[in-house]
């Protein structure tokens, strides 16, 4: 079951990656990132349960904390962005270039 769980995690991860790269709306990009984080959690938990070691779940908690911090800051930035530029298009805001 572990191998299958890992494969499912990988499928979810690449789905998230494809979404992140294909979508232009920042809301969907953030959703894709959440999906990728979830996929990573699944891989950690699967591996942890295989070895009957708590480390996998510990990593899950860290991912959880990270995701909470990331989502709050990213959504705040998103609000600010739509307020200033009147758009949620990731391609439209590319002022920080060389």
């Amino acid at each position: 079951m572990t191998a299958h769980a890992l494969i499912v995690a990988m499928i979810l991860f690449v789905l998230g990656l494809a979404g992140l790269l294909a979508r232009r709306n920042i809301v969907y990009m953030l959703l894709s990132i959440e999906i990728m984080l979830n996929a990573a959690s699944l891989a950690f938990i699967a591996a942890g349960s295989r070895w009957a070691a708590p480390d996998g779940q510990v990593m899950f908690f860290f991912i959880l904390a990270f995701a909470a911090a990331e989502a709050s800051v990213a959504l705040a930035i998103l609000l600010q962005l739509s307020d200033r530029f009147r758009t949620v298009d990731a391609d439209a805001v590319s002022e920080m270039r060389h």
């Binding site: 191998a3 969907y28 949620v88």
Partner: protein, 169 residues
């Protein structure tokens, strides 16, 4: 038990695919909740009941609600579906899809033909996890707290509405 796992896996994959392809933001979020429920079930079946509960409470509960609020604030309702369709032509999927498939193929190859992965599954009590978290991983807990505090402050600072004069035209 096995078939439960495969059903959950199928549900999560399909729901996730819908999340990334859907044009309506609120619907996409609902699919995300479904995917997380399925993931939570998989966690439970993999012997991590506490992680499963947290997945529901924090991901599906807190983070998704945060997204819902933001989507409401941004007015990402039915009106923007057309815009999304414009932004997302069929061809846009080609490159990312290829890249993702390549990645998937590689990892699948590694999992299938790499060193053998045994498949027995043990269950871990939350107590063990907690002991480990506050034992050898205590520095990680401290770091996480250090991450969350600036996250809180940053979200407050960045997210506050600008005074009218500061806005760009």
């Amino acid at each position: 038990m096995e078939f439960l796992f495969y059903i959950a896996a199928a549900v999560s994959v399909i729901a996730t695919a819908r999340v990334v392809t859907h044009l309506h933001a609120v619907h996409a979020l609902l699919y995300l909740v479904v995917a997380m429920m399925a993931l939570s079930l998989m966690f439970y079946l993999l012997g991590a009941p506490f992680a499963a509960v947290l997945e529901i409470i924090i991901y599906a509960g807190a983070i998704v609600v945060l997204f819902v609020f933001v989507v409401m604030l941004l007015n990402q309702g039915p009106l923007t579906v057309e815009q999304e369709r414009r932004w997302l032509p069929r061809g846009a999927w080609l490159g990312p899809g290829l890249l993702a498939l390549l990645l998937l193929g590689e990892v699948a190859f590694l999992i299938a033909f790499g060193s053998a992965v045994p498949s027995d599954v043990g269950s871990l009590a939350p107590k063990t996890v907690g002991l480990s978290l506050y034992g050898p991983y205590i520095i990680g807990v401290e770091l996480a707290s250090m991450l969350l505090l600036p996250g809180l402050i940053g979200a407050y600072h960045v997210g506050r509405r600008l005074a009218r004069g500061d806005r760009q035209a």
